[in-house]
Amino acid sequence: MPTIRVQEAPFDLGAESAALTAGRTDIGGLASFVGLCRADDGLAALVLEHYPGMTERALKKIADEAWARWPLTGCTVIHRVGRLVPGEPIVLVLTASAHRAAALEACAFLIDWLKTSAPFWKREEFAGGESRWVEAKATDDAAAARWAKPA
């Protein structure tokens, strides 16, 4: 069953990976993706807002879908909220499976889908004090859409 967390605290990729694989001998591949805050255009911080309750439900729904589509033995999704400075990790997706293709595909699916379907909003704060809400990207919709199942 997937593990979902929304938290202000940082996460530890090594510890989360170890938790998924500890004591197991049926995992052939462990894929991960960590999204980090970049210092583009003088960015001083990202402030992430979420919808408590709905956000966790949405993450669980997406993770449950990955769990149903690929033969996973483990899946962890952690998304941070609050104020993050450049260099800090924002999101972790971790997938384990007997075979590498399932782990890699489920990991890519989850991060693409998170971008378009999980209720988080990013506000950028700049060194000059200016601030603006990040706009949703059409390229993210396209990345998520490629995972849509054929009708």
Binding site: L48, Y51, M54, H79, P119, W133, A136
Partner: protein, 83 residues
């Protein structure tokens, strides 16, 4: 009916949440948006272009024709930008 606002929708409305009792003629998300837009200049600014605003009813994404009723939790927010 409990209404929640997030991100710039919250900032424009000037409230994170409010309890409202719309008239019986408000039966779906689109009707609720039109009614809320009349409550204050901030509400009007937030809903000035309804295509920029997404909605959720009882914590599930909702389309404009989704029914709403007393007791529902309805949220309005911009397109999501997580990940």
């Amino acid at each position: 009916m409990k209404i929640l606002y997030f991100a710039w929708v919250r900032q424009k409305v000037g409230l994170a949440e409010e309890d409202v009792a719309p008239p019986d003629s408000v039966g779906d998300v689109a009707g609720l948006v039109a009614w809320l837009a009349g409550r204050s200049p901030g509400h009007a600014a937030a809903f000035a272009d309804p295509r920029q605003v997404r909605a959720a009813v009882n914590q599930d994404f909702a389309t404009p024709d989704q029914k709403v009723a007393a007791g529902d939790e309805v949220a309005f927010f911009p397109p999501v930008t997580g990940g």
